[in-house]
Every structure is written in structure tokens, then in C-alpha cells.
């Protein structure tokens, strides 16, 4: 496990990342999956974990069909009940799911989800800054593209 000074303190050192982990613990099963994922990425081994999870999506698909295939594969791994208990495999699948949607948006602005754009925008905002730099750029481009789209037709 990587060293994180926040975690070796007896309090949370006013760290927003640790505070989010604690708020997730407080909300328990009522914590939103996006917050749970943000909390997982904020853990001491979070950056390493998210890099490993996202490495499975490399090389990045160069077509929308490729991103849809990634997204569908990720979706199969998401079990809602496991997600609400913070199950690591479900969280990994959820991260891949969000990343696939981001990848398609960043590629050419195609929106490949039935989840509401507001939810996805929030996921891009919250999770984006916590992932490795190359993916951070993809999340950021995706958010910009999402904001530019006037008429989003929800796609499977």
C-alpha cells in the first residue's frame, strides 16, 4: 500500500478526499455509487487501483462500437447490490463503465448511455480528477463534449 500522509494521522487532517470516505461510511448503503467510487479512488492505494482497472481498457478503442463493447462488458460486472456495499469488483466494473462512456464522448461526442447526462456529468467531474493523467484527459474532454451536446438521444 502506498504511503498517504492523510491516513497516518489520527484525524482526517481536513483532507476532502478522506472526508468523502468518511461520509460514505456514514451513509452506508445509502451512499451513491459515484461517491463510493470516488471514495475508493481516494483510498491510499486508490490511484494504483484505478490505474490497474483502467489498464484493462487499453488500448483504447478507436471506434464507437469498440467503446460500446467495453461498456457492455463493464455493465455485466456491475451488480447493484454489490455496488451499494462497496464490493471492489463491482466498483471496478463501474469505473470501467464510466470510462467507456467517457471514451466514446471524447472520441466524437457520441453518448452511449441510458443513464441521465446529469449523472454522467457528475461522475466525470467527481471521478475524473482521481484517475491517472491519460484518463484524466479523456474524462475532461468527455465533460466538455457533453456540455456542448444540445440534444442528447439516450443510447444503449
Amino acid at each position: 500500500m502506498k504511503s498517504n500522509p492523510d491516513l497516518h494521522r489520527d484525524d482526517f487532517g481536513a483532507s476532502p478526499a478522506v472526508a468523502i470516505q468518511l461520509f460514505c461510511a456514514i451513509l452506508g448503503p445509502n451512499a451513491h455509487p459515484i461517491d463510493r467510487l470516488a471514495s475508493r479512488c481516494a483510498a491510499s492505494d486508490g490511484p494504483e487501483w484505478s490505474s490497474q482497472v483502467l489498464a484493462e481498457l487499453m488500448p483504447a478503442p478507436k471506434s464507437i462500437d469498440g467503446w460500446i463493447a467495453w461498456k457492455n462488458r463493464a455493465k455485466d460486472g456491475i451488480h447493484e447490490s454489490d455496488l451499494h456495499t462497496g464490493d471492489p469488483l463491482a466498483l471496478a466494473a463501474f469505473l470501467q463503465y464510466v470510462a467507456s462512456i467517457a471514451g466514446a464522448l471524447a472520441l466524437d461526442g457520441t453518448y452511449i448511455s441510458k443513464t441521465s447526462p446529469a449523472e454522467i456529468r457528475r461522475a466525470l467531474n467527481v471521478i475524473g480528477p482521481t484517475v491517472e493523467p491519460s484518463w484524466r484527459d479523456i474524462f475532461s474532454s468527455a465533460r466538455i463534449r457533453l456540455d456542448e451536446i444540445k440534444d442528447i438521444r439516450l443510447t444503449k
Binding site: A14, P16, A19, L22, F23, I26, R40, N125, P129
Partner: protein
């Protein structure tokens, strides 16, 4: 401190009436008002001080942030009706205090302006505050959580259960599996899970108690916690 005047021990079920504890203290005369004032100062000093520093409010009042907030408390809380007025305001206590701080700084600036001939008086201090809601909410979220942590840890220590805090922290913040924590404490994974969960519930009760004293209804508390997370996410990104 009498037993009836102690801040309430967090419980699993909360009455639907908001601000009960502070209202009760204010109805008890001078001793109660002192307790309520003490609670307000302890709970809101840090978020208000952080807020003052971040938005330059202290600088505009030619004071340091800590000094400014202390003098604000001394000025306003010496009036026994100050918190009573809040009870009928419909505002959250943190909003009431933040607005009050802006008016206080405005008064200070007005006073300074009359002392220095020719210096203009601007309304910018009051309007600046509205644009910095986010900074204040961020400071408030962190300070409230810190207070809840202190209360939870104090409760555990009082009962000789400090280890349980470590189990909770290791699992929820450190991400260490229950079984691994169990090896350290010679407990099964299930026993660690049960203890860590119980500490989480105590932390939740402590935070909910703080939010209720700020004026939140029980039905709004999960929403309040989510808002606190949201404001932290936004600063982070």
C-alpha cells in the same frame, strides 16, 4: 454542568423538532445561554475563521481571521436575544452566523470610515459573502465532520474502546480488509466488521446531532450529508 444541561448523547432516533437542544438551553436563563453560546463558539469558530481567511473578510476589517471571529462572537453572543432571533429566522444556524459576521464586518468598516475622514464606505463586504457560499460550506463540512470524529472518539475512549476506532479507520479509510485487521486485534473478520460498523453508526449519530443543532430536520439529514460531499467534490475537482 448539570446532567440536564449536558449536550445530548446522540441517539438512534431523533425527534422531528429542529434546534431542540439550543432552544431548550435558551429557555433556561443565563446558565443555559452560556452553554448554548459555548456550543456555538466551539462548533462554528473554525468554519467562520477559515471562511474569513479565504475570502479576505478579515483583511477588509483590518484584523486577523481568528481575532475577527472571536470579537464577532463576543459582540453578538453577549446579546441574549441573538440566538433567540435565529430560532425564528428560518435559516440554518451556519447561515445566520455567516450573515451576522458580514454585518458585523460592515459595522466595523463603517466605524473605521467615520474615524478616517474621506474614506468611502462600500457595500462590497456584504455582497462578497454571497459569492463565497461555497467556501463557507466547504469549511463547514470539514469542521462538522471533525467535531463528529472528536465526539465519537471521546465516547469510545470513555468506554475503553479506542481499538474500535482504529478498526473503523483502518477499514473505511485505509481500505484494509476486516480479516487482516482481525489478525492484529485477535478477532474474526465478522467481529471486526461488526465493531467497525458500530463505530460508523456512532459517527453518523454524532454528525446528525450536529446537523440537527444547525437546524436540519431528521428527514433532511441524508440529503445534508450528500450536499456536504458534493461541496467537497467540487473543490477537489
Amino acid at each position: 454542568m448539570s446532567a440536564t444541561s449536558d449536550p445530548p448523547t446522540p441517539s438512534r432516533s431523533f425527534p422531528e423538532t429542529q434546534t431542540v437542544w439550543i432552544a431548550d438551553r435558551l429557555s433556561e436563563g443565563e446558565a443555559g445561554i452560556m452553554l448554548a453560546n459555548g456550543y456555538v463558539m466551539e462548533s462554528y469558530l473554525r468554519p467562520l475563521t477559515t471562511y474569513c481567511s479565504k475570502i479576505g473578510l478579515a483583511r477588509s476589517a483590518r484584523a486577523d481571521a481568528d481575532e475577527l471571529v472571536h470579537s464577532f462572537f463576543a459582540n453578538r453572543l453577549s446579546n441574549p436575544d441573538y440566538l433567540k432571533s435565529w430560532l425564528t429566522s428560518g435559516l440554518r444556524l451556519r447561515q445566520w452566523l455567516r450573515n451576522g459576521l458580514h454585518f458585523y464586518v460592515h459595522e466595523l468598516r463603517r466605524k473605521n470610515a467615520t474615524q478616517i475622514e474621506g474614506q468611502g464606505l462600500s457595500e462590497e463586504v456584504a455582497s462578497d459573502g454571497l459569492a463565497h457560499d461555497h467556501e463557507f460550506e466547504h469549511a463547514w463540512a470539514l469542521a462538522s465532520l471533525d467535531l463528529a470524529i472528536k465526539e465519537t472518539k471521546a465516547g469510545l475512549e470513555k468506554r475503553g474502546r479506542r481499538d474500535e476506532w482504529e478498526m473503523f479507520w483502518s477499514h473505511f479509510v485505509g481500505g484494509v480488509p476486516h480479516a487482516k485487521i482481525g489478525e492484529r486485534f485477535q478477532l474474526t473478520a465478522a467481529q471486526v466488521a461488526q465493531r467497525a460498523f458500530a463505530v460508523g453508526a456512532q459517527l453518523r449519530d454524532a454528525l446528525y446531532g450536529i446537523l440537527r443543532k444547525d437546524g436540519a430536520f431528521s428527514s433532511e439529514i441524508d440529503l445534508e450529508v450528500r450536499s456536504m460531499m458534493e461541496v467537497l467534490h467540487e473543490i477537489k475537482s
